[in-house]
Every structure is written in structure tokens, then in C-alpha cells.
Symmetry: C2
């Protein structure tokens, strides 16, 4: 059943761990050279994470933002895809260990990304799901949409209010985009769907530990984003730390005062931690980890003392020219992926490669239909034009993933009708959903 | 927070259990009269079940064939939707009991449908999932797509063959459509995606207890369907009963002989059983159940002795003019829903209604792109034209559910590229996926 093996053995074998932006761009660039590439991911698809919040809000289907890795890498002759869960890396033996097998490499690129984490409070995950995987997004969608169904049935005003309160913790781009989308859900999409509740009465609270929403943005753009969010009914609490989450209650500490927020829908967009492979790699190589679990890499993104092992994307801490480490965003991962691939191809030809330099392209965050903020270095702007830029940038990158037509269609449909979407509640409902006995 | 209640109390209150084809058509027709309608479903969406197999095969997203009940019923003023799981019906008190609440009615329509069942072998469900819900379809999709990933990694030829064997039990329309779609997956969609396996080597086996595929179709059309299936590489075993399913092994008994088929992907499309509410209703009213758990209804679809309780769709056994009970298909449920709604409106005006008569519109089953069989009574035909009819009939009914544009687009895309789809493996993988230690 096996196809005839050709002389692939002779080719230099690059193993890429992770099919996210970093791994994919590395693989695509590598495939232009004379190397054998094996991409290993525990999922069979690349996920376009910047749009995952739209799945959580019921605007897009998971399939709209996911492309099978085999399809994306189909045209590259010496590129292999393996679906496997990596548990360890053993550089001494040039070997990657799976849960159920292993593979050897000549050069290794580790691009396994990051996961949301709860600053040592893992029990909060039960109540306040994060947003990194398709399953996470569907769980958020379930919680958000179910809230309105429960509020519609609930007759106890206090409990109804809890169902109608949405608490989003963390006002980075994902938190801001999620809060804005829930604002639009309550003000347009769901407005006419219920008989006993007015969805516009929903309370949406966005909590941020630092002093402004979008903390990495210039202050004037953050202020614009706050204005857009308030228009959509979002209450913003900055300088506010979450100290406890339990059942339907979050405790917030702010300027020394403590406040309790009752909400049945608490969503976590606050912290990320690097993939656990960082720890395994540090153990086996003596490399250092920063406090988020990222590997401190050399200027060429290799692991200190391991010229054949590279770390890119969210798992790498490159303290760029003495500045802050590069942020965990798609453009950084893409550029690092391309850079490492070129370095490997150069090295095989005996050529040197200059240290990695990140070309800052700017930052974009969308708050709602027609409103976004854009920080393009020299140009900073907000509103409809920023939103248009956001739409085009995302569609441009999606092009590579073959999904642009369906997403463009869905967005246009949503834009003009403000109605449709993927509003399915799947999975198990909590029991009892409502405590009232009679309607 | 509650909207002002108007004089709805005075309206006759019809409660509809189930938002499938039967419940939805009943509600839509009722809403034209002066009644208050409450539709109760444990899901928040109507599912276009005839296309569920396309979700299972990774051609469509669940969101493409699901419409929120609130959206579908949005424009009807006195129509309410409640998301609740019904556990009992108490006609003596004109009351429906939920897991967490209850509601009273003046007239009740029960349209809670059917589920797949395993003829007393519930343990088979673990190995051989059925296809009734979105979750079922995603589990089938996971199993089907994972098989190829595992086969690609597996080096033991015996185990690789098990992964490449797909066993579909039950050759009714769903089984035939599923087998045909898996045939197309292996022959077109996935053909170029793998390096170690040829997906065309996959063995697809379709098992049927009766003497022909599509047992309710005329013999010549069944023969055509068999021909189409064989072209897609499907092996057909008729007059074959499954006697055991365990791990990756199914035992088939055929003409007194017993055969064992090794397959890691066994899919169940054989039997359905009526919703358990039938049992509850029978207990509380003395109504009779047939062996599939369906209520034997009066010629006007009411429950014997209960003029205010109607049963429609898959849960009703109407032995039509002494013939076989009507089949559990969408057109029957739709016509019954409309009929009961009209009867109720007539009754409120003091008018009589003639017994229900089913207008047979014909049957359609699709085997693959460009091939289907159509039995329209006078006209029986197969091939490309039947396939075109199938496409138009399905799009026509989808129109009501607002999804036609996206599905038309996806189908056209698939038709011309034979490539795209929603090929995500989500959920938990089995461990170990492969037993081989080295690639």
C-alpha cells in the first residue's frame, strides 16, 4: 500500500513542530530548497487564530478559518505532514518523541506556540474558558449563546441579570475584539430574537490589569478604542486585577478596593504561556526560559549551544536589540519562520546569514463593524478607514488559506443584514439551566 | 428587564415539542391564525438532517445546515421559542414537564422525532457511531478523517489495512449517501494529500440486511444505485446481518455463513427508534406503541382518547389506508405538521377537518457528484439528471432556512475543484494512534 520510496534519504531532513503561522511559513520557504521537510502537528489543520473570536461569537464556522495542513502544503514535493502529539525533544540523539512514536531530524524548528494560562489559578479555567483552539471557541460560543436562552426562560430577576452579564478578563486585542462582538450581538444580531428580554440590556464588562485597553497601543488609539467599545455598551475597568473566579462570581481588586461581579459568562483573554515543549527543550539543552516559559534564543533564533535547533513564534523570546521581547503575534511568527528557513538553506550552501531583524508592520484591532484602530508606525488612525484596512489585511492573509470567498461572503452578509451567523449551541447544557419552576 | 406582557393569555396556546421539519411547519402554519405558539426544543436550532451526512464527510460545516429556531420563527408575532429538555407529558393536567421547569398548553403537538438505535446492542454505539445530531456528524468526521492520518503513519500493513477499511452498516438513503461520499473522498478530494498511502486503496464496505440497497426503492433504481456505488469503489453486501461489533471488528452473518470484517471505522446507519417521549405519552394516555416506539395515532394524527394531543413526524405511526406506516422522512413530517396546524385552526373556528392524506412526492438519493436515483412515482430515473433534481430540491427547501447561498457556493466549489471542504479533526484522539515506534 506504501508508495515507492525514492532517494529522499539523501536529502537534509528538516522537522518542523507546529503548523501555525511560524511553522507554515518556515515549511513553505524550505520547500523551495533541496531539503525534505516534515511538519508535525497534533491537529490536522492550520488555524487562522486572529479570527477565532469570530467563531466564539457565532459569526464564522470553525471550518471557515481552518485549512487542512495537507491541502496547504500539497504542492510541495518533498514536504510531509504527520499528525502526532510531540512530548519530548532529544537533541543529543537528534530525535523528536511523540506520544506514540518518534522521528529523527537533521535540523529542527520548534514552533508550537502558546496556550492561555491563569497565572497559577488553573481552577479558573472551569468557569472562565480561554480562546486558543477550535474547541475553546465552540465552548465560548456555547456559553455566550446559552446565556440569552437561559435569561429568556429565567424569571428570577437576580439570576436573569447574572445571565445577562458578560465579563471579559483581559483587554488585549482578543479581549477588545470579543467585547466588541458581544456588544454587536446584543445590539443588532440578536435584538429581535427574544420575547422576554431585551438583549440591549446586557451588561458587558471588560477588565484590564494595566491602565488602558490595548496596552501595547499608543494612548490616543486606546482612547479611541475605548470610545468605540462604550458606544457598543461595553463597561471598561482598567487597573483592575482579578483575584478570584468561582462559580458565577469574579472578584476584582482596583485601587485597593475589592468588587464582586456576578456573571454566568466569564471569558478569559488575559494571559498566555508558552507551549510545554519549551520546558522539555530547556531540560535537555540547558537553555533558559523566561517567566512565560519562552526559550531565550540566539540572535539567529537558534537555541544556545544547539546550532541545529531553532525556536520561532510565541515560544521564542528574542530580546530584539536590547528591547522588549517581540510580541506573540502572527507577523512575528511568519517573519521568523521565513528567516530560519532561509538560514537553513543558506547553511546547506555554506553561506552565512545575518541575525534576524523584525520588520514592524503595525498593529490592527477591530472593535465592531466600521470601527477599528490601526497603528502603522508613522500612521495612526481609527474608525471606518482602519476597519477597511483590517478587512483587507485579513482577507489578504486568508488568501493563502483558500477561505477568502466564504469569509468575504459571510462578512458581507452580516454587514448588510446584521442577522445571520453560526449561532449553534452544541455540547452539554448545564443542569438545571434555570431554577424557576414555571414560565 | 421583561417586556410588557400583552393580552396573550386570552389566546389559545399551542405547544409544539421539537423544532424539526414537523414542528417547524406546524408552527409556521399555526402562526397565520390567532393562537399563541410555543416551540420547545432542547437545541436552539433547526437541523437540515438530509444533508447531515455531508457534515460527517467534511463537505459542509454544521453551521451551513443549521438555522437558529429564533431566526426561522422571528417574524411571527405570537410565536415563542424555549430551549428546554422535555422529560414528560401529563395530558390530565395539560402540562409538559422539562428537566428544569414546566409549561401548560391548550393543544399539544409532539414532534420529537427519532434516534438511531442498535437493536438491543447499545454497546455497539461506542464503536459504530450513528448520525442524528451535529455532535454525531462531527464524531463521524473525526473518525473518517483520522483513519487516513493514522494509515499514513502506520507501518504495520495489517493495521494500515484496518485503518483503510470503512464499514457502513445499513444501506438506506443515509448509508448509501455516506458510502458514496467516502468513495469520492478517497478517489478525488484526498487523493493527492498523502505520501505513504494511496487513498484509492481504501476498502469501503456497505452492509444491508435486506436484499437490495435502498430497500424502499424499486428494484431497477436500486440496481442503478449499486452500479454507481461500485464505480466509486464501494463493496456491497446485501442479505447480511451484523451479529457483533467490538473494537475494530464486525461479525456479519450472510446466508448462514459468518464473516469477520476488520475495520477501524465502522459507521451505523441501520436503525432508528422513536423519541422516548413516545413511551412517556403511552404511559400517561394508554396509547399503543409499535415496535419502533412510535405512537399509533388516529387518522387525524391525534392520540387515541386525547383530542388535544397530536403526534407527527418520525414519532407517529399512521397506518395510512391500511398500508405500511408512512416512512420517517422530511416530506411526511412537513405535510403532517401543516395538516395538524390547519386542523387546530379549523377547530377553533368550529370547522371539521378531513383525515390526513399523504401526498407522495417521490424519493431521491444521491450517490456521488453527477449521480443520483429518483423515484417520482410515474417517473423513475437515475444519473446526472436525477442528481440535478436532487440539488434543486435540496436548495429549494434550504431556501427557507437562509443557507442556500453558502451551500450553493460550497457545492460549486467542490464540484469544480473537488478539493475543498471542512476537513477538521476535532475532539480527542485515541491513544496510541499507531503502534509502530519509528517512521
Amino acid at each position: 500500500m506504501s508508495k515507492q520510496e525514492t532517494k529522499k534519504e539523501e536529502l537534509h531532513h528538516v522537522v518542523v513542530l507546529g503548523g501555525g503561522f511560524g511553522g507554515l511559513y518556515a515549511s513553505k520557504t524550505l520547500s523551495k530548497g533541496k531539503v525534505k521537510v516534515t511538519v508535525i502537528d497534533k491537529r490536522n489543520f492550520h488555524l487562522f487564530q486572529p479570527l477565532l473570536y469570530q467563531v466564539a461569537a457565532g459569526w464564522l464556522s470553525p471550518g471557515d478559518i481552518a485549512s487542512p495542513l495537507r491541502v496547504v502544503l500539497n504542492d510541495y514535493q518533498d514536504t510531509y505532514v504527520l499528525k502526532a502529539e510531540v512530548t519530548d525533544i532529544v537533541p543529543k540523539e537528534k530525535k523528536v518523541v511523540f506520544r506514540d512514536g518518534e522521528i529523527t531530524y537533521d535540523t529542527l524548528i520548534v514552533a508550537t506556540g502558546s496556550y492561555h494560562h491563569y497565572f497559577g489559578h488553573d481552577n479558573w479555567a472551569q468557569t472562565a474558558p480561554g480562546l486558543k483552539t477550535v474547541e475553546d471557541a465552540l465552548e465560548m460560543r456555547r456559553k455566550i449563546l446559552l446565556s440569552f436562552e437561559a435569561a429568556e426562560r429565567e424569571t428570577d430577576p437576580k439570576k436573569q441579570k447574572e445571565w445577562m452579564t458578560f465579563l471579559i478578563i483581559g483587554a488585549g486585542p482578543t479581549g477588545v475584539e470579543l467585547a466588541g462582538t458581544i456588544g454587536e450581538l446584543t445590539r443588532t444580531t440578536l435584538k429581535d430574537d427574544f420575547r422576554n428580554i431585551n438583549t440591549e440590556d446586557a451588561k458587558i464588562i471588560l477588565v484590564e490589569g494595566l491602565g488602558q485597553v490595548l496596552p501595547t497601543y499608543p494612548l490616543d488609539l486606546s482612547a479611541k478604542a475605548e470610545k468605540f467599545l462604550k458606544k457598543l455598551g461595553v463597561t471598561i475597568k482598567t487597573n483592575a486585577m482579578v483575584t478570584d473566579i468561582k462559580d458565577s462570581k469574579a472578584t476584582i481588586s482596583r485601587n485597593g478596593d475589592s468588587e464582586t461581579i456576578q456573571s454566568r459568562t466569564i471569558l478569559w483573554t488575559a494571559g498566555v504561556k508558552a507551549s510545554s515543549l519549551g520546558k522539555a527543550l530547556a531540560k535537555n539543552t540547558g537553555a533558559q526560559l523566561d517567566k512565560s516559559g519562552r526559550i531565550l534564543v540566539n540572535p539567529d533564533l537558534s537555541v544556545p549551544g544547539q546550532p541545529d535547533v531553532f525556536v520561532i513564534g510565541d515560544l521564542a523570546n528574542l530580546s530584539h536589540e536590547g528591547k522588549e521581547p517581540l510580541p506573540g503575534v502572527a507577523p512575528v511568527a511568519m517573519q521568523e519562520g521565513k528567516y530560519v528557513a532561509k538560514l537553513i538553506l543558506n547553511r546547506l550552501k555554506g553561506k552565512e546569514t545575518k541575525p534576524f531583524e523584525y520588520k514592524e508592520k503595525g498593529n490592527l484591532a477591530v472593535i465592531g463593524t466600521n470601527s477599528a484602530v490601526a497603528d502603522l508606525g508613522k500612521f495612526k488612525f481609527a474608525g471606518f478607514f482602519a476597519w477597511l484596512v483590517w478587512v483587507f489585511v485579513h482577507i489578504r492573509y486568508l488568501i493563502e488559506f483558500d477561505s477568502k470567498v466564504i469569509i468575504l461572503f459571510r462578512w458581507s452578509w452580516n454587514y448588510f443584514t446584521r442577522k445571520r451567523g453560526v449561532r449553534l449551541i452544541t455540547g452539554e447544557d448545564p443542569f438545571p439551566l434555570v431554577d424557576s419552576k414555571k414560565k
